[in-house]
Symmetry: C2
Subunit: 287 residues, 2 copies
C-alpha cells in the first residue's frame, strides 16, 4: 500500500513532509520532554500500541508511523478509534521530528481519560475482578525503568492493581511506558497520597498489607495464598519508611547475607510469582 | 584532607588540572567508548570499587576521583594495590574528562588478569566452593542492563558461576558493570563458545542443565534442590534455540497465559530465589 491508501473504512493516513508541521507538534523532541498527566503521554512501538488499543482508560489522540512500517500495522491501526489521525513520514522526517533515530517507527500520543482516579476507585475495580489477587503499593519509586518493570511483573503474575504514592514517578513517563511493554495502559492504577493513605485505602478495600522488607521475619513459603495481599514496596537504598514497617506485617526474600538488596521490580516479581503459583495450586486442589 | 595528602602509607593522590593530561587517557569520553577485554574496563562508584578491591581476578590500574569525594573514600582506597595511582580532579575537570556529568565522582579503570578463563576452569572453581549451588548459562544476551542484572541476581542467590556464549555481550561493558553493582568483578564467569559447548562443559563438571522455557512442562515447585543445576537462559523474544530445548529438560515459571514473557534477569531471579530457599530448607532439615 502507499501512504495515502485508506485503511478499512478509516480516513487516509496523512503524509508529513515537514518536521515543523504543527499537526505533529506533540511528537517533537520526544526524548527531551516527558509528557504526562494533562499533556498526555507517548507510547512507542507496535506492542505498546496494542495495549493502548485494548485500554478503556487511555485513548490515542494521534499516531506517527514510519512509511515503511505502515503496511505491517494496518490491522493494529484498524483497532484504534476512527477520530485518531494517522500521520506518516519518511525515516529522515520522523527522526527529525523525534530528535533521535526512531528505531521502532511507531509513535502514539495518548490521553488519560481518568487521570483523577483514586486508590479507592481502582481497588473497587480490582476487587470486583479477582477478589483474591494481590495488589502492589509502590512507595518512593523514582526510577522510570523500575516503575515500568514493576507494571510488567504485576501484569505477568495477575496483580489486580498498582498504587503509587506521590513520591513515586509517574507511570506514564515515556520510558516507564516502554519498559512496562505497555502494561501501564491496561493494568489498573492510581498515583497520589502518602504511604499511610494508600495502606489505609488497601485495608478499607479488604486487602492485608504486607511489607517487602529484608529485615522482616516472615518467609515466602509461609504466605497463605487465599488471602488478598497488598504488597508494599520501597525504593532500593532507602527501603520502606519505619512508619510503614512498624505498622504492618512483613515478609523477606531469603538471599545471601552479604548482599545488600535486590532491584525493587525483581523483588516484586519473586513474591508475585510465588503467590501466583500458590494460588494456582490452591484452585486446583479446590476443584 | 587536601588532595595532595597521602593516604595511609600510599603515594599521594595526583592532582589533574588538564582534561587532556595523557595520564588519565583511559577515562576520556568514557560514555562513548566501551573498554572491554584487552583494553580493560571502567567501574563507576564506590560500591563497585569495593567489589574491585575484593576481587582476585581483576586489578584496578588507575582511579580518578572527584576532589570533594576523596576524603570520604580513603578507607576504600587503602584497600587497593599500592601501585594503582589515584588521580584527583575538580568537578569541572572530571566532567570534561568523562564527557558527561559524573554524578558518582569515582571512576576506576581495571584489568582482567584472567581474560582467557574457560568454562571448565570456572566450573571447577564453582564446584570446589559450593558443589550443590546452581550456575547460570546465558545465551544470546545482548543487552548490557540485562547482563548486569543477571549477575546481580546470580550473586544474591548464591549462584556459583555465570557462563555466557559468544553471542552474549561482554559483562565488563561499563553499563553491565554498573547495573551488576560490581558483582561481575567477584562472581566467577567465562564468556565464549556455542550454547552446546557450554551445556556440555556444565554436564562434564557435574551439573544438570535445565532450560528456562515458557513452553516447558516442569514447574518450579517440582525442582529437587539437592541436585546442582545449570540454569540455561535465552534472550527475551528469540528465547532459547530449539537445539537447546530439544536436548535438555526444561522448567517454566507459572504466569498469565496472555503475557508474552518476563525479563530474562527477572526470570533467573525467580528460579534462583526458589532454589535458594529450597536449599536453605534442605540444609535445616538435614541438621
Amino acid at each position: 500500500m502507499t501512504t495515502t491508501d485508506a485503511i478499512a473504512g478509516r480516513p487516509a493516513p496523512i503524509p508529513i513532509t515537514d518536521p515543523d508541521d504543527p499537526r505533529i507538534a506533540v511528537f517533537r523532541a520526544v526524548r527531551e520532554k516527558d509528557l504526562t498527566g494533562r499533556h498526555g503521554f507517548i507510547a512507542e512501538g507496535s506492542v505498546v500500541l496494542d495495549q493502548l488499543a485494548l485500554s478503556r482508560r487511555f485513548r490515542p489522540s494521534a499516531l506517527l508511523v514510519l512509511d515503511s512500517r505502515l503496511a505491517g500495522i494496518t490491522d493494529r491501526i484498524a483497532r484504534l478509534p476512527q477520530d485518531c489521525p494517522v500521520y506518516v513520514a519518511s525515516r529522515e522526517v520522523i527522526d527529525a521530528i523525534a530528535g533521535f533515530p526512531m528505531h521502532r517507527g511507531v509513535l502514539a500520543h495518548g490521553i488519560d481519560m481518568a487521570a483523577g482516579l483514586t486508590a479507592a476507585d481502582v481497588l473497587s475495580v480490582a476487587r470486583a475482578g479477582d477478589p483474591a489477587a494481590p495488589i502492589l503499593i509502590a512507595l518512593g519509586i523514582a526510577n522510570h525503568d523500575n516503575m515500568g518493570a514493576l507494571f510488567r511483573n504485576a501484569r505477568a503474575f495477575g496483580a489486580g492493581a498498582v498504587l503509587m504514592d506521590e513520591a513515586s514517578c509517574h507511570p506514564l513517563y515515556r520510558k516507564a511506558v516502554r519498559v512496562s511493554v505497555g502494561t501501564v495502559l491496561t493494568e489498573p492504577w492510581a498515583r497520589g497520597g502518602t504511604p499511610i493513605d494508600l495502606i489505609e485505602a488497601a485495608i478499607a478495600a479488604g486487602y492485608e498489607p504486607l511489607a517487602l522488607d529484608p529485615k522482616a521475619e516472615g518467609s515466602l513459603g509461609s504466605l497463605d495464598p487465599s488471602r488478598p495481599r497488598a504488597l508494599v514496596l520501597g525504593a532500593e537504598g532507602p527501603g520502606l519508611p519505619r512508619a510503614v514497617t512498624d505498622r504492618i506485617a512483613g515478609v523477606r526474600i531469603a538471599m545471601r547475607s552479604d548482599v545488600d538488596s535486590l532491584n525493587v521490580a525483581t523483588s516484586a516479581a519473586i513474591v508475585l510469582a510465588r503467590l501466583y503459583e500458590a494460588r494456582a495450586d490452591l484452585s486446583r486442589s479446590v476443584r
